[in-house]
């Protein structure tokens, strides 16, 4: 069976969930060979093997952390040359997309970004994309070169499928351009203890209707009762009530959870672009005419300051 390269997104050896989803999708089109780079790369092997990686290619060098993107492109290209894969799959993070795109240029291949599903086809992998703020679903494929495809988080349910996961060191010689963009300093994001926004099964979001930074505590309380991540509309972020890293939408995170609860959010097209593919959508808004109600499975027309705390209490009671 043909081999498929899977680029591993990990933090110091802890594999992030979108990569496990990617391994599940990769098995539909071939045998996954994982590429893990940077500090902790070898520590990813056990998890990757559990999820179907037949081989794990690892490399670590200071360049990966000290310079932007290009050293990783050099490494992925080295893996590509070592394996001659049938496809290259990369998680659709901002950095993942850039790495994939630069690789595609180098190996003269077409690229598809933000796939939400992947199937084997007669002429190579077929990717499903959602276009125009999820109002269209398209099926596309790469028609030139080795398909390079980036896949959005929450595109597949993670399935375990133990495989050999043999670790091999990847030899990388960095290109002249690898050191072009220096990372002068890096400030890690503080963990809130809540699930990661893009990976969470449930997302509870607040918008302009929350009306103040201090009131976000009621959104957080609901999120915590459900074990959910907290999201925000751009209006709430621009007002300084919540960090930009929590913004959901076209220029924020794109989420596709099992359940999305929007409170005090009108449902502008740019917000919908980031959440419209959620499986179940619930909204609380005092305006019965708010466009968000066109999307919902269940909507409550009411004041969020009444409805949200009441819901939180009820969830707590039911969960005991």
């Amino acid at each position: 069976m043909a081999e498929v390269l899977v680029y591993v997104d990990h933090v110091d050896g802890a594999v992030r969930k979108p990569t496990l989803e990617l391994l599940t999708l990769a098995r539909r089109v071939g045998e996954p060979v994982a590429v893990a780079l940077g500090s902790g790369a070898e520590a990813t092997a056990a998890t990757l093997a559990e999820h179907g990686a037949v081989k794990v290619l690892t490399a670590d060098a200071p360049e990966f952390a000290d310079y932007l993107v290009v050293p990783k492109v050099d490494a992925l290209q080295a893996a590509y040359e070592a394996v001659s894969p049938a496809a290259v799959l990369v998680p659709s993070s901002a950095e993942g997309k850039e790495i994939a795109a630069r690789l595609a240029v180098r190996i003269k291949s077409g690229i598809i970004t933000d796939a939400v599903d992947l199937e084997a086809g007669d002429e190579g992998p077929v990717a499903t994309q959602s276009a125009f703020a999820a109002s269209y679903t398209t099926k596309s494929r790469v028609s030139n070169g080795t398909p390079v495809i980036t896949v959005k988080p929450n595109s597949a349910a993670v399935e375990a499928a133990p495989a050999a996961g043999t670790v091999e060191a990847l030899t990388v010689s960095f290109s002249e351009k690898a050191t072009g963009t220096k990372v002068v300093s890096r400030t890690p994001r503080e963990s809130t203890g809540r699930p990661d926004l893009t990976e969470a099964a449930i997302v509870v979001s607040g918008g302009r209707g929350v009306n103040g930074a201090e009131n976000f505590s009621i959104i957080e309380a609901l999120a915590d009762s459900l074990g959910a991540a907290v999201g925000a509309s751009r209006a709430a972020v621009d007002a300084g009530w919540y960090p930009h890293s929590n913004q959901v939408g076209q220029t924020g995170k794109s989420v596709s959870p099992q359940l999305y609860i929007a409170s005090g959010i009108s449902g502008a097209i740019q917000h919908r672009a980031g959440m419209q593919t959620s499986k179940t959508i619930v909204a609380i808004n005092k305006d019965a005419e708010a466009p968000i109600f066109d999307l919902v499975d269940y909507g409550v027309v009411g004041d969020l300051f009444d409805v949200v705390p009441a819901l939180t209490e009820e969830v707590k009671t039911r969960k005991g």
Partner: protein, 261 residues
């Protein structure tokens, strides 16, 4: 010495309109008004601010797009850019990101540049990869997805807010930069700006001018192929209740029924 800035701007269908695919599965440009991709206004704004800080700078706005894409160039000129380059050719219809980036890279090289500035993503294709591809093709550093940017003494510095960390980046010019909508509100064109824009030069280039073969671009030359595009079925109307004191409870009941609680 003058700092030569090229800003890449895309002409896109208005996102608040009813966007569609045409029969050949390319973007239908007839049914919806087009405009300058809103996220590229941030790129123009940062170019203007960088030019203000420089001793001497010239801003060229560049687009690859159909005839109407001139509107996007005019908007950028009315914000304050100095001149425009429009790559326009019937053979470009249906070009994918590899073709588009090839055309942009050649046009940028022909124009001459020290700094290329782009938006974080277009509002139609939304791939968010073109600036990185341009850097690869031009062989210069990429300093992308910046929420803050400055240029001094031939060095570009910026802040990139990523998934897990916020990074301070630095590269020597020439370089390709892209900026996010966190980089600072874009200015509105003034009346004076709009009037002045009418007199600013717009240069038109075609594929011949850039030594690009028609086979390298367009629908036929694309390295990706769209096989189908289907409108997402309208969601079946959900249940809407009015809160009369029981809204929270009713919602909890629904969530429990769906096994979320």
């Amino acid at each position: 010495m003058s700092l030569r800035i090229v800003v890449c701007v895309k002409y896109v269908p208005d996102a608040t309109g009813d966007r569609k695919f045409a029969d050949d599965l390319t973007v239908d440009r007839d049914d919806v008004d087009g405009l300058l991709s809103e996220l590229d206004e941030y790129a123009v704004e940062q170019a203007l601010q960088i030019a203000d800080e420089a001793d001497d700078a010239e801003i060229t706005v560049l687009t690859v797009g159909p005839e109407d894409a001139k509107d996007a160039l005019r908007k950028a000129l009315s914000m304050g850019a100095d001149k425009a380059v429009h790559v326009e050719d019937d053979d470009l219809h249906g070009t994918d990101v590899m073709g588009t980036s090839l055309v942009l890279a050649k046009a940028i090289e022909k124009t001459g540049y020290d700094l290329v500035i782009a938006g974080m993503a277009s509002t139609d294709g939304t791939m968010g990869v073109l600036p990185a591809i341009l850097a690869e093709r031009l062989g210069v550093p990429q300093v992308t997805l910046l929420s803050e940017v400055s240029v001094a003494d031939g060095v570009v510095k910026g802040r990139r807010d990523g998934d897990t960390a916020s990074e301070q980046l630095e590269a020597s010019l020439p370089a390709v930069v892209s900026v996010t909508d966190q980089s600072g509100e874009a200015r509105y064109p003034s009346f004076k700006g709009i009037m002045a824009a009418k007199k600013k030069p717009v240069e038109s280039l075609d594929l011949d001018d850039l030594d690009i073969d028609a086979e390298e671009v367009g629908l036929e030359g694309a390295w990706t192929k769209v096989d189908s595009a289907a409108e997402r079925p309208a969601r079946t109307a959900g249940t809407i209740v009015k809160d009369e004191g029981e809204g929270g409870k009713q919602l909890a009941e629904y969530l429990a029924g769906q096994k979320f609680i």
